[in-house]
């Protein structure tokens, strides 16, 4: 008998609460921007904030207002981007992945003619050398900006992947393979630089 009362009371209360909430959601419904709502519906609702907005809804509102690009949703991937681009009537854009792996400039010294053009181009003074002498890149200072590649008259500068060191290593984001982060052009170029 007691258990019946308990079940009825709890069930009844839950039922009443459910009905009240259902009515409240109708009665207090706030008319949002219909475009924002449709964009919001296309988003994965992970509320991850990778787009730079506090959640999916704020991002949807920003897109609808034309403040944000359509390609900021990383978890939604290409599908969400295509849907949003379609809704907004703008050309699709590739979904932004994480920034490219950090690169370093590397000078093939046996080809270097010692012209110092790259030294002048380097904004952080990471290239050392003198006229008619080999130049080389100070790895710790190189920011991988590629500004030195263009001026070289003999094209002996190339960008190589920065070797991973423990101090800078972090866990990769879930779902991204680690293989992607390491650069394919390691090998002898890197060995030479080190």
């Amino acid at each position: 008998m007691n258990i019946l009362v308990a079940v009825l009371l709890l069930g009844g209360l839950a039922l009443v609460a459910g009905i009240v909430l259902a009515f409240a959601s109708r009665a207090f419904h706030v008319e949002g921007d219909p475009m924002a709502e449709r964009i919001d519906a296309a988003l994965p609702q992970t509320q991850c904030g990778q787009c730079g907005y506090p959640g999916c809804k704020p991002y949807a509102a920003a897109v609808a207002n034309g403040e944000a690009d359509v390609n900021k949703c990383v978890p939604g991937g290409e599908r969400a981007m295509l849907t949003i681009a379609d809704l907004m009537g703008v050309p699709p854009k590739e979904v932004e992945e994480e920034a490219a792996p950090p690169m370093l400039a590397f000078i093939r010294e046996d080809e270097c003619i010692g012209c110092t053009l790259c030294i002048k181009a380097c904004p952080v003074d990471a290239i050392i050398g003198a006229p008619k002498q080999y130049h080389t890149v100070v790895e710790d200072h190189c920011t991988g900006c590629t500004l030195c590649v263009e001026p070289c008259p003999v094209d002996c500068i190339e960008m190589v992947g920065k070797p991973e060191v423990l101090e800078e290593w972090t866990w990769s984001a879930p779902g991204k393979s680690r293989a992607k982060a390491t650069d394919p052009s390691e090998g002898e170029a890197n060995a030479g630089a080190a």
Partner: protein, 193 residues
């Protein structure tokens, strides 16, 4: 009157929910990164906890005790608090966009946060009256808000500080929280409960 003052003082400083009862640790660590979000969270908790303690008192007095269902406390409290918070969130969304901006995101997050449920259950345990249980809820939330804001301020500074490599991130945050708890132990002689 002095009884009310004592309840407040004890809930805010002596039996602080976060630092002595270890309730509500998750929002304490989760939203204390910036002072601004911490303030929003603190306000939402203040609101929900006061509401939860009064609502659960009513449920206890008018449903659980008459029908002798005290063993169902937890589930009844969760149900009633969750419904109330959801309802009020909708009400705020409709009636006050400004308030919704400030509280909106945090309200559903703390619907049945352990501190919120904790205050309801502790109220019942201590056999409070309606007034004192509301006051206890409000005081506890005030204590939570105080500690959360202090901690957020500390963390904003620590972000800029030269923390040793091994202590960066959560490690130094947890150590800071521990030191705060130690500091709050100093209040323990203030009120005899």
């Amino acid at each position: 009157m002095s009884e009310f003052a004592l309840i407040m003082l004890s809930a805010v400083l002596v039996n602080n929910f976060v630092l002595t009862k270890f309730l509500g640790i998750c929002p304490f660590l989760g939203v204390s990164r910036k002072l601004e979000t911490a303030l929003g969270m603190a306000l939402a908790v203040l609101f929900v906890m006061t509401l939860a303690s009064t609502a659960s008192w009513l449920v206890q007095q008018f449903i659980l005790i008459p029908f002798d269902l005290m063993y169902l406390q937890t589930i009844f409290f969760i149900l009633i608090i969750a419904v109330l918070v959801q309802f009020i969130e909708m009400l705020i969304h409709k009636s006050s966009p400004v308030l919704y901006q400030a509280l909106g995101i945090f309200l559903p997050l703390i619907t049945t946060n352990c501190a919120v449920l904790g205050v309801a259950l502790l109220n019942v345990q201590q056999e409070q009256t309606f007034m004192t249980s509301a006051l206890y809820g409000f005081g506890s939330a005030l204590g939570f808000a105080l500690v959360l804001l202090l901690f957020a301020g500390l963390r904003e500074r620590i972000d800029k500080a030269p923390v040793p490599e091994a202590f960066k991130g959560s490690a130094v945050s947890l150590i800071t929280a521990g030191l705060m708890s130690l500091a709050f132990m100093g209040f323990s002689g203030l009120v005899k409960v």
